[in-house]
């Protein structure tokens, strides 16, 4: 809101009528979930995608493209409706929490197009964007399995929910595929804002001999990073790792010991909400809005990727192994499990 240095819209005042040559007649908005637009996570990523799209098409920020922030679950519908009433052509609901709200509001406003991220709403005027997090999780599982020396890796989840299960299941499948003997310790914190609990869990896992932890738990994961960095600080030789989620969490893993820089972030499972949002917006602009469809972004369309920022930790071997599996997934040789039932099947088939 506050002074994003975007001078493009300034030269003309009455932008209602397009004097700008390249500007198009299309408005788009998004509603965040309670994380807020700048959560350094998928809300922010969505906004980046939308901003990119807006700038490329000469739209005015906070006018032709905008966002509405939700403080509580109750705000979703209110925000969606407000944007509908302001006449936006396409409105995104970011996050599975908004699914019921998008579903209902879309039904009541058949003339507006909607999109829901991370969930599915079966309405003719809603495009559902989901991600194949299990694929990405599978690949970071591969990395973990390659990296572990103790044959024990860990997973910390936020709440025990369908979405987070997808991460867990993909991760476990990935680990077992490479290293059937490795043990995966799983624990759910019970929430996404419990850094203290995250730290206790990470501490307990490392104490048990886990040396790589994958977290899908928002700010709870901060506790895992803290614990790992602390151990690194005390014993730089100890090989312990955290795998980030949603975006590249390399920054979170940086720690300096006696002037020497280390990083405990092995890799991150990156979800490119920006790519999906930009992609879908462009299609809508071009009159090709995929209403009623489910768009599943995965490895193949860059909707999911694995961060490779930590070049030191991700050795050739690991990178090689990752791309090997990635290829198989993209080819369809491997169907990565999405839930516990599929995981069982998958593990039995190994």
């Amino acid at each position: 809101a506050c002074g994003t240095g975007d001078d493009e819209g300034q030269d003309t005042e009455g932008t209602d009528d397009t004097d700008q040559n390249e500007a198009v007649d299309f408005t788009v908005a998004m509603v965040t979930d309670v994380g807020g637009v700048d959560d350094k996570s998928f809300n922010q990523s969505a906004w980046e995608g939308l901003s990119d799209f807006g700038k490329e098409n000469g739209l005015e920020e906070m006018k032709d493209y905008t966002y509405a922030q939700s403080e509580t679950d109750q705000d979703y519908k209110t925000n969606l409706n407000r944007l509908v009433r302001q006449g936006y052509d396409l409105i995104y609901g970011i996050g599975y929490l908004l699914q019921p709200a998008v579903d209902e509001v879309a039904q009541q406003n058949p003339d507006t197009n909607f999109a829901i991220v991370d969930s599915v709403a079966e309405q003719p005027n809603v495009a559902s964007i989901t991600f194949k997090e299990h694929q990405g999780s599978f690949l970071v599982g591969v990395a973990a399995a390659m990296k572990t020396k103790t044959n024990k890796v860990g997973f910390i989840g936020g709440t025990d929910s369908d979405l987070i299960n997808k991460f867990e299941v993909g991760f476990r499948a990935g680990v077992k595929s490479v290293n059937p003997d490795a043990e995966v310790v799983v624990q759910y914190a019970g929430g996404f804002n419990m850094a203290d609990k995250g730290k206790v869990i990470a501490s307990s896992m490392y104490n048990q001999g886990v040396d790589v932890i994958y977290h899908a738990s928002g700010a709870t994961g901060n506790g895992a990073f803290t614990e790992a960095k602390d151990r690194k600080k005390n014993n730089p030789d100890e090989d312990i790792w955290v795998i980030g989620v949603d975006r590249d969490q390399y920054e979170e893993g940086a720690v300096t010991v006696d002037g020497q820089e280390y990083n405990v972030t092995l890799t991150s499972m990156v979800k490119r909400v920006d790519v999906a949002v930009k992609d879908l917006s462009t299609r809508a602009l071009e009159g090709d809005f995929p209403g009623g469809e489910i768009l599943e972004y995965g490895l193949e369309d860059n909707g999911i990727s694995v961060a490779t920022t930590n070049e030191e930790a991700l050795t050739e071997d690991i990178l090689h192994e990752i791309s090997k599996w990635e290829e198989q997934i993209v080819n369809g040789d491997i169907e990565v499990p999405k839930n516990h039932d599929e995981l069982e099947e998958y593990l039995n088939s190994l």
């Binding site: 506050c2 807020g36 959560d39 700010a219 901060n222 005390n234």
Partner: protein, 320 residues
């Protein structure tokens, strides 16, 4: 795992979990012993976390890796003490309902924190700090057999600061003139007044000290656990500290014990998940265990506790 190993894995997390609660609960003890309810502990922690993180980020280049966290918590404590002044003015001078004023403190801290973060960083949360606290082995003490590895290895200095402060505050409250006056003001302000004790001044000091301690608690939470500041950094810890204070019967050492109990219960529930015969127990039992344990402990053997008698009532000269 043998018992020793078990304790070794269980105690350190219990300690770092408890530390911020100890500081804040001690603040609560000081305020309530003077007769001012402080339900704003959550807000004071938020303020502390906010200032601690922002200061740390801004001044790490000035004070370096070692001193920045210490200076940060000190600054956070002072700013929170000033912030608590609002509660003091409202509830002591303006005779506001102390609970209402405390609730306002909670709203205000979060509002100010998030608003300023947005102003200064242009986003919803700060970056992660580069100079947090790290654990260390406490010299000498950590080499004591058995006890050393359990309590004094891989521990934060701030945890021990919390425990030392609990003892110090115990001594202040029960052994010094200041403490005697503080208690008298919380029990029978008029009696104190007739002896020439400045009730209003004592209460201001106590509330500001509670701000100081809450600020320490919040900033230490941020700099040992969360590392950044966002809307969810402090979410309920202040209320847990409030519970610890009551659990501990408004006694500094009791409050410390209660906070350690919470920490231990959390640690226990996390560790339990890894114990083979408990692995098939539904997670929910382990999640609620710390809270249910607390209730059982209270019902079972802690029993009643009496709050300071004048708690919650403004002191108005010449009325009874």
């Amino acid at each position: 795992m043998n018992l020793l190993e078990m304790l070794q894995t269980m105690i350190p997390p219990a300690l770092f979990f408890a530390a911020p609660l100890i500081f804040t609960a001690l603040g609560g003890v000081l305020s309530e012993r003077s007769g001012v309810i402080n339900i704003g502990l959550e807000g004071l922690m938020i303020m502390g976390a906010f200032v601690g993180v922002v200061f740390n980020l801004a001044f790490v280049d000035v004070f370096g890796d070692i001193w920045t966290p210490w200076v940060s918590i000190l600054v956070a404590a002072f700013v929170s003490a000033l912030f608590a002044l609002l509660h003091a003015v409202a509830s002591i001078t303006f005779r506001a309902d102390q609970v209402v004023s405390g609730v306002a403190i909670n709203f205000l801290a979060l509002g100010i924190g998030l608003f300023l973060v947005k102003q200064w960083y242009g986003k919803g949360q700060t970056d992660m700090v580069d100079a947090p606290f790290y654990t260390a082995d406490i010299p000498v003490l950590s080499s004591i057999p058995v006890i050393g590895p359990i309590f004094f290895s891989n521990t934060y200095y701030t945890t021990w600061l919390a425990i030392v402060l609990a003892i110090v505050i115990y001594l202040i409250i029960f052994k010094t003139p200041f403490g005697l006056r503080l208690r008298s003001v919380g029990e029978h302000p008029m009696a104190a007044d007739t002896l020439g004790i400045n009730v209003v001044k004592m209460r201001y000091i106590a509330v500001m000290l509670s701000g100081f301690m809450g600020g320490l608690g919040g900033s230490i939470y941020a700099l040992t656990i969360a590392m950044d500041f966002s809307h969810s950094t402090i979410s309920g810890q202040g209320f847990m500290a409030l519970a610890a204070m009551i659990f501990g019967k408004w006694h500094p050492l009791g409050a410390m014990g209660a906070a350690l109990f919470f920490g231990f219960a959390q640690s226990l529930s996390v560790i339990s998940a890894t114990i083979p015969f408990l692995q098939d127990v539904p997670q929910v039992y382990l999640l609620i265990a710390p809270y249910v344990l607390t209730i059982l402990a209270l019902a079972g053997f802690i029993g009643r506790a009496d709050a300071p008698k004048a708690l919650g009532s403004p002191y108005i000269k010449g009325s009874r």
